[in-house]
């Protein structure tokens, strides 16, 4: 639901008092850093592995072990900060956040609470509005900070035996926590922001950002208020496993809070879990009141310094050993927004199409490939790629890399249609045939099914006369002329 529809929705059933209530949404994103080893230890980072096999003595919090910071994780955080227009703190500090939970054997998490590695950034995102969802609206949300912290292990709850099984493979994996300012107003904005963030992280290679695999975890802080008045009590919504669920959870929670206030109730400051089956949020029992984390500086880690350029690295320090911001800026790849602008400017396609091309893995390359091979205009090609190709891929749940039709084959088909050898409607038919029989060439299929467009005037006249003669009472002679002039295919029967 867009912001407008939300306001519209509440105007109908509720009294005038609540006409102007709006939702306020702030996101906390935990992105798992894509690195070979963990943040403070040398054990492997991998999604699936036998339980507790990727655990070092430090990860298991055995006494006498010490944290050693992974340079790749620092670089990932700096790259992400640069891509999101953050100020990179030349000096950042590590702290301990204390709380007890079985999947965190140390009893504390090493994080960066006082001085994180990057602050004051901005995420620019777009979403579609309008009845046909084709008007692009660009928005932005401020990023308060990006900090490095440790991930905890995994708990598997066994209600039958009344126990929890703990797997520490994930304990100690590096995370980037991105804290956004509460500037969004509904589920759709949050979903659009997260999608853009996913694309950026994937382009940088700092995080694979797959929500289903837990590489990107999003918690939403939701409250409602009337604009101009102080912010309302907020609740934290957790357990969101996809971008779609994120939008649903936020919208449900905003709605719930509005209803609570409307019936003169009070919104509790609590943590709620999203239940995907019902689409509702339910209170989480395990959180005991307000937590006091007793933050303290991490005594085993001196401050982390990152340097502006090679020149600012102090004497006696090996530049290859430290993190240099200039070096990383030079490595920044083309970000999604830049890609989209380039596509629109180079090929003259619509903005909404550029979104589809960049969102779908491999589609942009496919499209550019076809454009280079074919003689047709990019604007014609985009139609084929967005409608025919994506249509088929989506209905069969396939990725672009799994398409049975290669860019070359599609280019060939488009060439035939453009040159008038087959009509556009026939071309679509041929496309479907090619999909089913990828080993056959375009020419073969057209020949087999005799789909060549008949341009020979005499031949057309013959066909028309035959049809007219078999239906003498129905035909208008002028139609015949029109028929001959038009270059529609007659499928001979």
């Amino acid at each position: 639901k867009s912001p407008e529809t939300f306001l519209f929705f509440i105007m109908i059933p509720y009294t005038g008092e609540f006409l102007s209530m709006v939702g306020v949404v702030g996101l906390e994103v935990h992105a798992q850093i894509q690195s070979t080893s963990k943040l403070f230890s040398g054990s492997h980072v991998r999604f699936l592995a036998p339980p507790n096999s990727l655990v070092s003595h430090f990860d298991a919090s055995l006494p006498g072990t010490l944290p050693v910071l992974n340079r790749r994780c620092v670089e990932a955080a700096v790259l992400t900060g640069l891509a999101l227009n953050c100020t990179i703190n030349r000096k950042s500090l590590f702290d301990r956040k204390h709380y007890f939970y079985a999947d965190m054997p140390a009893g504390y998490q090493i994080t960066q609470q006082r001085v994180p590695i990057a602050v004051n950034g901005m995420l620019v995102y777009s979403h579609f509005e309008g009845r046909r969802r084709n008007q692009v609206v660009t928005k932005s949300v401020k990023i308060k900070q990006i900090q490095l912290e440790q991930d905890s292990g995994k708990s598997l709850h066994d209600d039958e035996q009344s126990q929890t099984l703990i797997d520490l493979n994930r304990a100690g994996v590096g995370l980037m926590e991105l804290v956004m300012e509460p500037e969004m107003c509904c589920g759709e904005e949050a979903a659009a922001a997260v999608r853009e963030l996913q694309l950026i992280l994937q382009a940088l290679g700092t995080c694979q950002a797959n929500m289903a695999e837990g590489q990107l975890r999003v918690d939403a802080n939701v409250s409602v208020h009337r604009p101009g008045e102080p912010l309302g009590v907020r609740t934290e919504v957790k357990n969101i496993n996809s971008v779609r669920h994120l939008a649903k959870a936020i919208d449900y929670e905003i709605q719930r809070q509005m209803e609570v206030l409307q019936s003169a109730g009070k919104v509790l400051n609590e943590t709620r879990a999203f239940d995907s089956k019902s689409g509702n949020t339910i209170p989480m029992r395990d959180k005991e009141g307000l937590q006091d984390y007793r933050f303290m500086p991490e005594p085993n880690l001196p401050p982390l310094f990152v340097y502006e350029s090679k020149a600012s690295v102090p004497a006696g320090v090996d530049p290859a050993q430290v993190v240099v911001i200039d070096r990383l800026s030079a490595q920044l790849p083309e970000l999604p927004s830049v890609k989209r602008t380039r596509l629109v400017e180079t090929y003259g396609i619509l903005q909404e199409h550029s979104f589809t091309l960049v969102n779908e893995d491999g589609l942009m390359d496919y499209f550019e490939n076809v454009v280079q091979t074919t003689k047709a205009e990019p604007r014609k090609v985009i139609g084929w790629v967005i409608k025919e190709l994506m249509g088929n891929l989506n209905s069969q749940n396939l990725k672009v890399s799994q398409s049975p039709i290669s860019p070359c084959a599609l280019a060939e088909l488009i060439n035939l249609a453009e040159s008038g050898h087959i009509s556009s409607s026939t071309a679509k038919q041929v496309f479907q045939e090619m999909w089913k029989a990828p080993e056959k060439t375009v020419g073969q299929i057209v020949k087999e099914q005799d789909l060549w467009m008949i341009n020979d005037k005499e031949e057309l006249q013959k066909i028309c006369r035959r049809i007219v003669d078999s239906h003498p009472e129905e035909v208008n002679p002028n139609c015949i002329k029109a028929l001959i002039l038009a270059s529609e295919t007659f499928i001979t029967q």
């Binding site: 036998p50 096999s53 655990v55 430290v322």
Partner: protein
Amino acid sequence: FARASRALRPTHPRCGVLTLPALSDIGSASGTSWSRWTYKRESSNSAWNSKVPQIPTWEPVAENQLPPPTRVSPDLVDKLERLALVDFGSKEGVDCLEKAIRFADQLHDINTDGVEPMDSVLEDRELYLRDDMITEGECAEDLLQLAKHTVEEYFVAPPGNIPLPKREERSSMLKHSEF
């Protein structure tokens, strides 16, 4: 005897550690062995130059210069016990805590205007950054052996956090325990 001392563990000239003769070399347990020992200490002065003052140099801070004493309420004790899982045990425990806070209050006497807070003496050192390589792990067996109860290579924990029982319940629980 000098020969015996040379056979001892070699000292680094900058090291302030006193080399001790092996007990057997001191000979019979007579008073003379110790005087020989202190004689050795004074003669090798460059190797032994203690920074620890021989007599105390500090004076306790006057009570009127300290901030008002902090009283730890039973509610605060309860909260601390819950957060840190530390058992204060009794009135003595709380008294000990209050005395410790009083002792630390002396720090308020120091003028720290214009001085940046320091949280680590290693502040001027480069934080060592490790290469992103796999160097450890694959020791599930060793780690699981440390736990009394495991299930199929998983550690076992109770379902969720068990809240610390209230003070009254705790004392009745502890009455029957070994402590």
